[in-house]
């Protein structure tokens, strides 16, 4: 089947899509956008978080066909351009605080934090933890991710 959707502001088409494929697979393997990550592909880690029609979802549990005609924003679509100064404030904060180690959870976390700060510009620590409970990280113990969110909220 053909799947057409708006990804990061551009209309994109993928052909020969098997209907059993996930939006994650389409993004990564057919549209050249590997930013959303394939850590569990069961909705249990949040590393594939993307915006679907403005809501953060796990792209691994969205069937390709469900994305037909929808709007998708991935981590690659958050920065208006390349280069550090062009990064979104959440991305810059992750860099500055050392919240990135292996980085596999990072794209999903950045989308989740981007969404959190859009809804709540000044979240408390418990608010941050609650909002990010769907994103697993194995490297950092989350402390520097907390720092990153606090920094992003104030920058």
């Amino acid at each position: 089947m053909r799947v057409t959707c708006v990804v990061n502001g551009e209309t994109r088409e993928a052909d020969d899509v098997w209907p059993g494929e996930s939006l994650l697979f389409v993004l990564r393997e057919r549209l050249g956008l590997p930013g959303a990550k394939n850590a569990c592909e069961q909705g249990e880690c949040g590393s594939c978080t993307v915006y679907l029609d403005g809501q953060p979802v796990c792209a691994c549990l969205v069937a390709a066909g469900q994305a037909q005609g929808r709007t998708v924003t991935t981590v690659e679509g958050l920065a208006p351009g390349s280069g550090e100064e062009q990064l979104d404030r959440v991305q810059r904060a992750f860099l500055a605080t050392g919240a990135v180690q292996c980085g596999f959870c990072t794209p999903g976390l950045i989308v989740a934090v981007h969404d959190l700060l859009a809804r709540d510009p000044a979240p408390s620590d418990p608010d941050i933890r609650e909002a990010l409970a769907g994103n697993l990280c194995r490297c950092t113990g989350y402390e520097k991710i907390m720092e990153a969110v606090r920094l992003a909220a104030t920058s």
């Binding site: 909705g43 953060p56 796990c58 969205v62 069937a63 469900q66 769907g134």
Partner: protein, 329 residues
């Protein structure tokens, strides 16, 4: 390429969706997909036609019957959880929704889909082990396997798989009604009849005809539910299924007696478990910890446990007593 043949069809109307599924034997509705896509990939379900119902005009919440709420089947869990009329009238239901899965999943998962979510029993999900729910007649591996998280209420010799939903626990306590449209027309199913205990047919979980689509969930007006609560005990602080969860809504009269009580349990039953025995034991009786404990004992009198999950009975009783005591205090 040789993939499993699957056809994808996005329905433009309810009638179209119902017709598409009912006319095709190996078909299934696809709502949010947070369970179904997972099981599809695990080969636990193998439909050859997926009928996407995400475009159907079923995302509404509207008032019905002087204070009740009708929830469209495609309303997303996160939207329902935060809807002011749910938060005000049924705070325990809002809490149950917010304690399920993660924000990303709640944004995608629908209310109707939640009613149809499948068990997390690892023997069901592994696609290989004997499992009467997945492969009728093949046996139940959980009976003698790892069953720490398995049900102690409503079980049978055929199946002890736990029902995983949180919000369904609230809905059984609230006497919700499941509204469907199927090939034979509309139907309204009281929610406790919607969830079938495994008995001899664990593979049949709901009294739905093939092609019968949940279109709405009606939650009746219930003033006592305005102080309802939902608590969830689990092995991890979030993003995890319940060991035991408790939904409660209770009114104690001036004499200190339980005047009204709605009590339901998650994590311990093969279906979202309405604690009828406990309710009956308490209505009209003094709201005391001793009576709460006696009611909890009554509820679990017929519990069937394994060495691994017998602790759940103790935990569930303690959770009930604590919860009702808190509501009273």
């Amino acid at each position: 390429m040789t993939m499993r043949p699957i056809t994808f069809f996005r329905a433009g109307s309810i009638d179209e969706a119902v017709a598409a599924v009912s006319s095709h034997p190996d078909s299934a509705f696809l709502a949010g997909g947070t369970t179904e896509i997972d099981l599809l990939r695990l080969n636990v379900v193998q439909p050859t036609l997926l009928v996407d119902v995400n475009d159907l005009p079923l995302t509404y919440l509207e008032d019905v019957d002087d204070g009740g709420v009708r929830i469209g089947a495609m309303a997303r869990m996160s939207d329902v959880a935060r809807a002011p009329r749910i938060v005000e009238r049924y705070p325990g239901m809002s809490q149950a929704l917010l304690l399920g899965a993660s924000e990303q999943l709640r944004n995608m998962a629908s209310m109707g889909g939640n009613m149809c979510q499948r068990t997390r029993c690892s023997y069901f999900r592994d696609g290989q082990s004997p499992c009467n729910k997945r492969e009728p007649g093949s046996g139940c591996s959980a009976l003698t396997g790892i069953n720490r998280g398995h049900a102690v209420l409503g079980t049978s010799e055929q199946c002890i798989a736990t029902h995983p939903s949180d919000v369904a626990v609230a809905l059984v306590a609230l006497d919700a009604m499941i509204r469907t449209i199927g090939p034979d027309g509309t139907n309204a199913i009281p929610i406790e009849r919607f969830f079938l205990r495994p008995a001899d047919t664990p593979s049949i979980e709901h009294p739905l005809a093939h092609g019968e689509l949940i279109v709405a969930i009606d939650v009746p007006a219930l003033p006592v539910a305005r102080t309802s609560r939902y608590v969830k005990h689990r092995d991890r602080a979030s993003y995890e299924f319940a060991l035991v969860s408790v939904f409660s809504a209770m009114r104690v009269d001036d004499a200190g007696n339980v005047a009204e009580l709605r009590l339901a349990l998650g994590g311990v039953g093969t279906v979202p478990w309405r604690a009828h025995r406990a309710e009956e034991a308490l209505i009209g009786r003094p709201a005391t910890p001793e009576n709460f404990a006696a009611a909890a004992d009554a509820e679990f009198a017929d519990a069937r446990t394994t060495p691994m999950n017998e602790f759940m009975v103790t935990f569930a009783k303690r959770a009930i007593v604590r919860e009702l005591s808190e509501v009273t205090s």
